[in-house]
């Protein structure tokens, strides 16, 4: 069993739990293993890359990846959600090393990422800011305020990765990518399970425009269907 699966099992107690049920897992692994310059040793470095998990619900995969990378001991995973655990069902940056934002309520991460990118730019820091949102999270209008401004201000250190597991109730095929492209973002749509494709899209750093990656992930039912 791979270490991430073992760590997830600590949380779920279910060894048969299919990794495919974690829509964000592959994106998170590629980010932390191949893309981001952030580690337990540089958490206080203003030049570290920032990853903001906006879609804060269902954070088991996030916690497993952070623990795997050494941000906190795996013993924390066993009793997550209990009163004294730092690990809640939505992550809290004040409790968990490596967590850049406290999330849970949808539609806050991308606006916070835009502010973070602006703050880093004002200080001459060239670090990446990557924010993960869900396709249904884009229902929230606050995201659209943010993606418009990010393009208008040319925030080219900002990457949005949309994990598209077709969970929005009112989907329009291709709308997400078109929405970003219309505002002037660079956009790539990739298979959200394909690590090489994810790495290529997530490491893109276009000049003068922000980068959007739509990572398409079908859940088990859809795969089986």
């Amino acid at each position: 069993m791979d270490n991430i699966q073992r760590l997830l099992t600590l949380m779920t107690g279910d060894e048969k739990h299919d990794l495919a049920s974690y829509s964000t897992l592959d994106v998170l692994r590629v980010l932390y293993e191949r893309v981001l310059d952030v580690a337990p040793g540089n958490l206080d470095d203003p030049h570290r890359d920032r990853f903001l998990l906006s879609k804060g619900h269902g954070p088991a995969a996030y916690y497993a990846v952070l623990s795997d990378r050494g941000f906190f001991p795996e013993s924390w995973l066993r009793d997550w959600g209990t009163f004294d655990s730092p690990l809640g069902y939505h992550p809290d940056r004040n409790l968990v090393p490596g967590v850049e934002i406290s999330s849970g309520s949808l539609g806050h991460g991308l606006p916070l990422a835009v502010g973070t990118a602006l703050g880093l730019r004002a200080q001459g820091v060239d670090a990446r800011v990557v924010v993960l949102v869900g396709d249904a999270e884009l229902d929230e209008g606050s995201n659209h305020e943010a993606l418009e401004l990010a393009a208008a201000l040319g925030l080219d250190r900002l990457t949005v990765v949309v994990v598209d597991n077709r969970s929005t109730s009112y989907a329009v095929p291709g709308r997400i990518a078109e929405r970003f492209a219309t505002e002037g973002w660079q956009v790539a749509t990739v298979d959200g399970r394909d690590h090489a494709a994810l790495e290529a899209a997530l490491t893109e750093r276009p000049t003068g425009v922000p980068n959007a990656v739509v990572a398409t992930v079908l859940d088990r039912e859809e795969v089986a269907a």
Partner: protein, 309 residues
């Protein structure tokens, strides 16, 4: 009086003063940023030109306004976030609660207009509930300067401090400035204690000119200066006069006097919508917050007279 700065440029209008003071702060302190949303741009012109990376207009996007400010704070900067109070505090309240409060970040939120500035603009541009709403969050410092000089002092202190601050900038002003935080003893008497917050002090002084009461004044609304309040209290009759929702500060008086049997009269804006236009003075009068209205309420509360109109 505290010396808050070496080169102050004071004007008469608190909103113009906000623009001038924040422009000076941006010039002096590279760790500050101003995030605004189309409103008050005419006051920021010089700063926009000189500091394009630290002065950001987000357009008419108030949810984004607040979280962009919080994002600046995530990178270690001190954001100043501004639009009309209603759009800042009420439209983006979850952004304040989560983007600043829950993240554990600090910043200075500056809301313009208050309860009365937009007297002709109607309910959409009035925020009588802003202080009460901000007061639901832990550890927020709330300031209601009553003059331009107080606005300057309050803004400079709030930016230099830590934590989350809300500064309420309005056009109504008092005659005298009290630049230090805390309760100021404006007049000492042997009867009731009347506490005036923000730009209602002149009205309170006029309403109480022939009464043997103590008049206290503060522009620092939270934290409430309970120490001074208890120290000067004589008869346990307390009158609160606030230029926002009546009763907003009743809880801090209640906390301060939990071991003292007391009576409290809370004056402020009434809950009903006026659905009238006119001047700020018309609105203050309609809420019973002009000198005559405050006098009538005092007669009823302190002398047992029935309020007659």
């Amino acid at each position: 009086m505290t010396t808050v700065t070496s080169a102050r440029r004071l004007v008469r209008d608190p909103r113009a003063q906000f623009g001038r003071t924040v422009t000076d702060i941006l010039d002096e302190d590279l760790s500050t940023a101003l995030v605004w949303a189309e409103i008050s741009g005419r006051f920021f012109g010089g700063a926009v030109r000189r500091h394009p990376d630290r002065v950001v207009n987000v357009g008419i996007r108030e949810q984004l306004l607040v979280n962009v400010g919080a994002g600046f704070a995530l990178t270690g900067m001190r954001p100043i976030v501004h639009t009309f109070g209603t759009f800042l505090v009420e439209r983006g309240f979850e952004q304040i609660k989560l983007g600043f409060g829950h993240q554990g970040l600090g910043g200075v939120l500056v809301g313009g207009g208050g309860s009365f500035d937009a007297s002709r603009g109607g309910r959409t541009h009035q925020a009588p509930g802003d202080v009460a709403l901000m007061d639901t969050l832990p550890d927020v410092a709330i300031h209601a300067p009553g003059t331009a000089a107080e606005a300057d002092a309050v803004l400079r202190r709030a930016v230099a401090a830590d934590g989350l601050h809300y500064v309420r900038i309005v056009e109504q002003t008092n005659t005298e400035s009290f630049e230090d935080p805390g309760l100021h003893v404006v007049r000492r008497g042997s009867g009731a204690t009347v506490v005036a917050f923000g730009p209602l002090l002149d009205e309170v002084l006029e309403a109480t000119v022939d009464r043997d009461v103590t008049v206290l004044y503060a522009h620092s609304v939270r934290p409430f200066d309970a120490g001074t309040f208890r120290a000067v209290l004589t008869t346990p009759d307390v009158v609160l006069v606030e230029p926002w929702l009546a009763g907003t500060s009743a809880r801090v008086v209640s906390d301060a006097l939990r071991d003292v049997p007391h009576r409290l009269l809370s004056l402020g804006t009434r809950r009903m919508e006026l659905r009238h236009y006119g001047t700020p003075a018309d609105h203050q009068r309609a809420h019973g917050l002009d000198a005559a209205g405050i006098r009538r309420s005092l007669e009823s509360f302190l002398d047992g007279r029935r309020p007659g109109r």
